[in-house]
């Protein structure tokens, strides 16, 4: 019998976190971290396709997002706390050792979790992630048109976010470097549209200010798959830096994708992740 998907709330660090779980862990459990830091789990729902290959897939909404609690104080929204939250969700749901998969900001978070809680993790999958806030915020993908870069830089520096040229450039950026599909899947569209319209997030300080773990990547001794799109909003320098840093890691570049290969080339993305997961045998259970 196929497990019904389930959802609910778990208490983590004193707050209610909304989670969803798909499938049964016949081969293992994938804990998936969305982008953001304020994306809802809806944007990565396609990861549930892994269920048909024997994996349980668990997602959750970060504190402040979706249906999870939203405490007002800024101290709740730090990177350190987000790392502990991931570990807290794993423990509260008794997931055991997980394959940790992170998309975009979730990829950066996954790297931090791997450094802090290596014993909780069987393997690491970082898709469109980054190891340093400097690369993340300052480096462009060379495939971003120059006019887009220039318009965004110019009007963002001035703080003129309502300028029609800025708006047009941003729209182009989304089409070229975030999701290249002519029509966005509802869940991605809904998640990004809602996140963008939520002014609460603007009031919070940047949790990644000065964040850089490039030098610490060599401490990660887990099987690691790195995925990036040729047109990725995230500079290819990020993927290469992670690849160089994590010994034995595997880098897969999606030729026709940007920042959301799991929607843009859903079938192949899942195949690549599945094949990676299938090569990792969980430590054999002790037999009586």
């Amino acid at each position: 019998m196929i497990a019904e998907p389930s959802s609910g709330f778990v208490s983590v660090q004193g707050h209610r976190i909304c989670y969803r779980s798909f499938g049964t862990p016949d081969k293992g459990t994938v804990l998936a971290l969305a982008g953001g830091p304020f994306g809802t789990h809806g944007q990565i729902l396609s990861i549930a396709d892994l269920v048909q290959f024997g994996y349980r897939v668990v997602m959750y909404d970060y504190l402040g997002c979706g249906r999870s609690d939203r405490p007002k104080a800024a101290r709740h929204y730090t990177q350190v706390r987000a790392v502990d939250e991931a570990e807290g969700v794993r423990r509260a749901l008794r997931l055991g050792k997980v394959h940790l998969l992170g998309i975009s900001y979730g990829g950066a978070l996954a790297l931090d979790v791997a450094l802090e809680y290596p014993k909780s993790i069987l393997s690491l999958i970082v898709s469109s992630g980054f190891p340093s806030n400097a690369i993340h915020t300052e480096e462009w993908n060379p495939n971003t048109p120059r006019w887009v870069r220039e318009a965004i830089t110019r009007y963002a520096d001035k703080g003129d976010f309502r300028n029609p040229r800025y708006v047009a450039a941003r729209k182009a950026l989304y089409r070229i470097n975030v999701c290249r599909l002519r029509i966005w899947p509802y869940d991605l569209w809904e998640s990004l549209a809602r996140g963008a319209s939520d002014s609460f997030f603007d009031t919070l300080p940047d949790r990644l200010e000065g964040w850089d773990i490039t030098e610490r990547l060599s401490e990660i001794r887990l099987p690691c798959l790195i995925i990036a799109g040729r047109y990725d909003l995230e500079s290819p320098k990020s993927a290469r830096a992670i690849h160089r840093g994590v010994r034995g890691s595997k880098l897969v570049m999606f030729a026709n994708c940007s920042h959301t290969a799991f929607w843009e080339d859903r079938e192949r993305f899942i195949e690549v992740v599945r094949d990676f997961l299938d090569t990792i045998s969980p430590s054999p259970r002790k037999r009586p």
Binding site: V51, Q52, W184, P185
Partner: protein, 283 residues
């Protein structure tokens, strides 16, 4: 606008529905196939929300999360037709664009005949108008499978061992050819297939409305996949019968174009709906 969902009571039974978006341009009511699938199989229709359409899906009686009475009297075609009209009324959807996939397409045609004033337009996606013809074509496609596959299927059918992995694998070869050609099935589609409960109960025995199709005076879009299990022989009569209907064949797709070529499929449906809405505004 948060998506909503829940239960409504229609013809005495609880039905599960989901609703996405606001009807800025219009409302699409979608009927899943089977009989025995579930609304999950049509979830990509929610992509239409970003173009101004409200999309409403529901699990037909006996399917998905809806109530499952055991008596077969609740599984007739005429009751299914009234159920569609009941859902529309209970949810106060007004006149809808009715979308039907596979068996849902057959059902949508019947609804268009009985309740034409409830509809603005009709989308028949991999649907048919004659059940005997569909069964004949289905049998033909099966007979054209490689001999090894057919033998395996026959062997386990004869033994009644329908859970044997070898039997399931052989059946899947057919499914991946004529139902959904994606190497990885999207979770919602996969889940629907795993939970399929046959709710046909003879409701389509001798069902043939080909001769009545000219009565349908609604704008109509008909779609099918290039490798569809509902073959051109089944679909062409629908196109011929409904005057002014538009036929679109999805290249490289089979019976699940909405998943197999999601972007193109949604574009085709959106463009059709926009055309209907624009003409309405001009009138």
């Amino acid at each position: 606008m948060e998506p909503t969902g829940g239960y409504i009571k229609v013809l005495g039974f609880k039905l599960y529905y989901r609703s996405f978006g606001r009807p800025e341009k219009g409302t699409v009511l979608a009927l899943h196939g089977g009989p025995g699938c579930r609304l999950d199989s049509l979830l990509p229709l929610a992509d239409l929300v970003q173009f101004g359409y409200r999309v409403v899906l529901y699990d037909q009686i006996g399917c998905g999360k809806s109530e499952r009475p055991t008596s077969t009297e609740y599984y007739t075609q005429s009751r299914a037709v009234d159920e569609v009209e009941g859902v529309r009324k209970v949810l106060r959807l007004g006149r809808v664009h009715l979308f039907g996939g596979s068996y849902g397409g057959a059902l949508a045609l019947d609804v268009a005949l009985k309740y034409p004033k409830s509809l603005r337009s009709l989308v028949v996606y991999s649907g048919f108008a004659n059940s005997a013809l569909f069964e004949k074509e289905f049998a033909r496609l099966q007979s054209e499978m490689p001999k090894g596959i057919r033998d395996t299927v026959e062997k386990y059918k004869a033994k009644g061992d329908l859970k044997n992995p070898k039997y399931l694998a052989a059946v899947r070869v057919f499914d991946y050819r004529y139902f959904c050609r994606l190497r990885v099935w999207p979770y919602d589609y996969w889940y629907m297939v795993e939970h399929f409960v046959d709710q046909e109960h003879g409701r389509l025995n001798g069902w043939d409305i080909t001769d009545r199709l000219p009565e349908i005076g609604l704008p109509c879009l008909i779609t099918m996949g290039e490798y569809d299990v509902v073959t051109p022989k089944c679909v062409r009569p629908v196109h011929r019968g409904i005057r002014g209907s538009k036929l679109v064949v999805f290249h490289r797709c089979s019976h699940a174009a909405i998943w197999e070529d999601r972007v193109r499929c949604i574009e085709v449906i959106r463009d059709f709906l926009d055309g209907v809405e624009n003409r309405r505004t001009l009138d």
